[in-house]
Subunit: 384 residues, 2 copies
Amino acid sequence: MPTPVKSVLPVVLLGCGGVGRYLLRHIVSCRPLHANQGVAIRVVGVADSSSLLVAEDVHSTGLDDALLTQLCAAKSAGSPLSSLLGRGHCQLFKNPEARGKVIDAATTLGRTTGLVLVDCSATYDTVSLLKDAVDHGCCVVLANKKPLTGAYEDFQKLVSNFRRIRFESTVGAGLPVIASVTRIIASGDPITRIVGSLSGTLGYVMSELEDGKKFSEVVKTAKSLGYTEPDPRDDLGGMDVARKALILARLLGQQISMESINVESLYPSELGPDAVSTKDFLESGLVQLDKSMEERIRAASSRGNVLRYVCEIESAGCQVGLKELPKDSALGRLRGSDNVVEIYSRCYQSSPLVIQGAGAGNDTTAAGVLADIIDLQDLFQTMA
Amino acid sequence: MPTPVKSVLPVVLLGCGGVGRYLLRHIVSCRPLHANQGVAIRVVGVADSSSLLVAEDVHSTGLDDALLTQLCAAKSAGSPLSSLLGRGHCQLFKNPEARGKVIDAATTLGRTTGLVLVDCSATYDTVSLLKDAVDHGCCVVLANKKPLTGAYEDFQKLVSNFRRIRFESTVGAGLPVIASVTRIIASGDPITRIVGSLSGTLGYVMSELEDGKKFSEVVKTAKSLGYTEPDPRDDLGGMDVARKALILARLLGQQISMESINVESLYPSELGPDAVSTKDFLESGLVQLDKSMEERIRAASSRGNVLRYVCEIESAGCQVGLKELPKDSALGRLRGSDNVVEIYSRCYQSSPLVIQGAGAGNDTTAAGVLADIIDLQDLFQTMA
């Protein structure tokens, strides 16, 4: 006997680049698994930066799986969403109409069946849309860190109904960091400190340096392995780690902004993007940093410590940068590109709660987003 | 402006020994925190092995916080629940009437406001009550492992509506092990293997042995530190670890029972409770095990490995016992009484998802139970 459908979750996806595409694939391939649990995800619309592909009647149907599969293939090949027109019961809207159509869906579905807006983009442009959707009673799932790391008022607005938002994949991809912190808070166990290595790139760089390699060589190797952004300074500057730290700090109740976070960049402003091209930075800039890094590593080592690029969140404030840590701590033992987070609280006082594993990658990030969507199912129950 | 109450969760607590008492204390001390989130926990009844203290009108009120605080003090001092009669608007029922009264509450509340049955006892006796409650639409939260580790049909019945049951604290206390496994399953990421050190006692024993200490001495020290049960064979036999392994295996979909698990005991049957008293085991039995343990440790060490007492769950089956592991793995590096769990899946293939931290203790276990109760709030919404 097939399991009756207990929850139908209508979804509009914003952003169908890497993570978004993986998410659509996971949704399609998980249909039998979710059906067994009485859950159905109905993808009623998919938007990229220029247009929105939406089901003809968002109240009753979603984009069918064949179309979603074609959409993934099209985006993967670099084709626009408009190339899919005529392939199914769907409509296409270009910007600026596209945004209005998402609001339409949010308005009509938000107050009736409910709607989940899933943001897998990497832009600040979705914030106002997400805030409007929250006003209409919609749920929000984020892989995009930016809506949570802009103005504090935006964060506050988005999390105002905390049960209707999930953002696990903004910190450590699929690793259960946000879920664990949320559980600890809910149990009244006060979190005193979170320390984490939340950049796979910088984790790799710092553990390779320990073996005596040169900073410039390790960064170039990381780039050739695809671990860094096209311009490695996007990683070395620490801003991505700072965004994750800000999300954790705000989750702990700190009403702070990016400006309040002390961020140490691994390159000086003289070698920044405004002064030096990527090519020159890689060819002649990086090597200028080798000596000082070598000295810092040696000094740490002489005290039995290692250097890690971490974020530290305490009641006193939030820091992002290099820190000397004991060799035999969870962070000190870290090798390769894994993320690791240590959480200290009353229950985890002398010895922290540690969560470790792959904290990046489209597959893992999309898996975290999908788990978040499924976790909202109790708000979408169609029968008792 | 005070936050409006969005969810009222009526709770009946079974078992008010250590974990149950801590839970009541946490519920009382978290009132302001939960009120801020629009959540209220209403403790309508508390049962121990012989009686039930229940609110006069379970539909509208719970036992008040002053009474709950007195109840904790009374149980802590070894007084029976009956000593609390006359201290508030409550009634007392002795067994066998007590069970009938819980069923009454489950019947009337289960189909109206909803009811959460929280089992912090350590007995098989609650199983039939829990199954009846599930039939009446109640939710179940377990710290008690036994209801999930008896007959497979009982497990199946209890998890039949998977959104209405939580059992985080049955494995690794408050550590987010079940929550993480559930998230990974929901995202369609197939789990291929779970390996864990899930006994703080045996974790401590095995890491101390590494330093060259004698098995008999380490076990006696563990006992004197309060790490073991009064008869350390209750830990050394591995059955508690096997129960946790069974819960994880069943969560992964394996339809197995305790009999299917290969459990290695750290003492031979000639030194078992049927043959030798606790006193004799400690005074003359344990020392007979020193030599063989020392040889096994030395053999492992010669291969660069360490010995850990672990559970291993794979599709091929479920094992509990000593295992040689690389010194530099998460399990191999484990020191002291922390628990650690490694989860392998498609997303966590070469490098596992690792969760580590204190996996025992009344405070931590009760915190996990409370987080589970709060996690059910969307099923108890009183307004949109």
